[in-house]
Amino acid sequence: MTGKSGALLFTLLIALAPCAVLAQQTDEEKVGRSAAAQLLGAAKLVDSPAAQKYVNAVGYSVAQSSGANYKWHFGIVASDSINAFAMPGGYILLTSGLAKLLESEDDLAYVLAHEVAHVTRHHHYQVIQRQGLAEQASKNLQAVSKDDEMAKLSLASGQIYARGLDKTAEFESDRLGVEFMAKAGYDPAAALGVLDRLQQFKGQDPRTELLFSTHPSPSERFAALVDSGIDKLPRREAKPDANREKRFKVFHDAI
């Protein structure tokens, strides 16, 4: 191979790299990618690599205990809204507004584990499949030039996230999420603490408007977890780990 042809091949490989990434993705991942694009069009990622890395570390920790084998992508977006979103294929976003409300790494583990459960149970993907959008995605998302089709899918995804899921899907994600976080080694009682804090916002604050319109009330979710036997789960009563508290504080200060 001559130097010129080698350089040409290298240039081609670089140019085609995004296409190759898309081609390797499953339909579910392609749909999730498009949904993530819609959400990230409304709010960008927080510009703190350290905080993003931390969220991914905690996220991978709970995701591993789910047993699902996805390429996970966790991120914090800059928004005052208090909410978190799970996209098909392993894309998970939470708002800086929600992250600021959390008080410990265990709280963060619960929020991320709840979203991981949505992904592993394919809650959003099933809605998209029922609407016939998944097939459209598989046909069109490989061709990066078909912007209109991608935009259509992204918009449809936006509608799903604005409308929310069935209540049973939310209860199931709470239950599975608590299992994932407890298996990973986090305190399951943190889930009750987060729901306690969310309940304080009920009907009082526009930051929780979308969360409360798309989810059962935190008090219902709290009661459902109690009914599921959350207080039978093993729990370390020892003092919280100092290092864990310290690194959470660093994260909290960075967002």
């Binding site: 993003q52 977006v77 993907y125 209860f171 306690d196 008090s219 459902a224």
Partner: protein, 192 residues
Amino acid sequence: MQVDRALLGRLRSCLAAAILLCAAVCSAQVVREDLILLDKPDGKPMDIKLKGGTPVKALKRQGFWVELEAGGKNGWAKISTINYSTGSGGPSAIDTGRLGTGNIVSTSAARGLSAKDLLQGKANFDEVEKLEKLSFDLAALPAFRTAGGVQPGGANIALSAAKPASAGKPGAETQKPSQPAGEKKKGEGDDW
């Protein structure tokens, strides 16, 4: 316009009484089964026995324990011993010892990610590429977990799908993703 101060005073008293009554009723819970209250979380039994169906007031939650008041006496019980579903106040009526009102500030508008933003926003695939580059190096995970004292909680942990978490739909129609991704690696990672 002249105001009858005595009438205003009586109205204020009535309003205060109504608020207190509502607070008491709204935070009422019911004991599920006969139980004996403990002197502290996981503590010793006290001489306070409650029959199933007894109304109680949940005062404070600590982990999986809740301090109850019944008939002027206080004691602790596991959270599952009371029926949260019957109390319209829900858990928000309970002091967890960590809650304050200071962090709840009403704002005129939330920035980003409202339903309108989601519907009217334009997809941003450049940000997705940034998100995809944030993927965590799995080799660093054991070190991260060890540094934070996060030890596996056991494989047999399971909650029951009790009401209202019937969880049959739509999640029951599970499908495995057709292509697994994300290989797990072992090894040392970052210094956390």
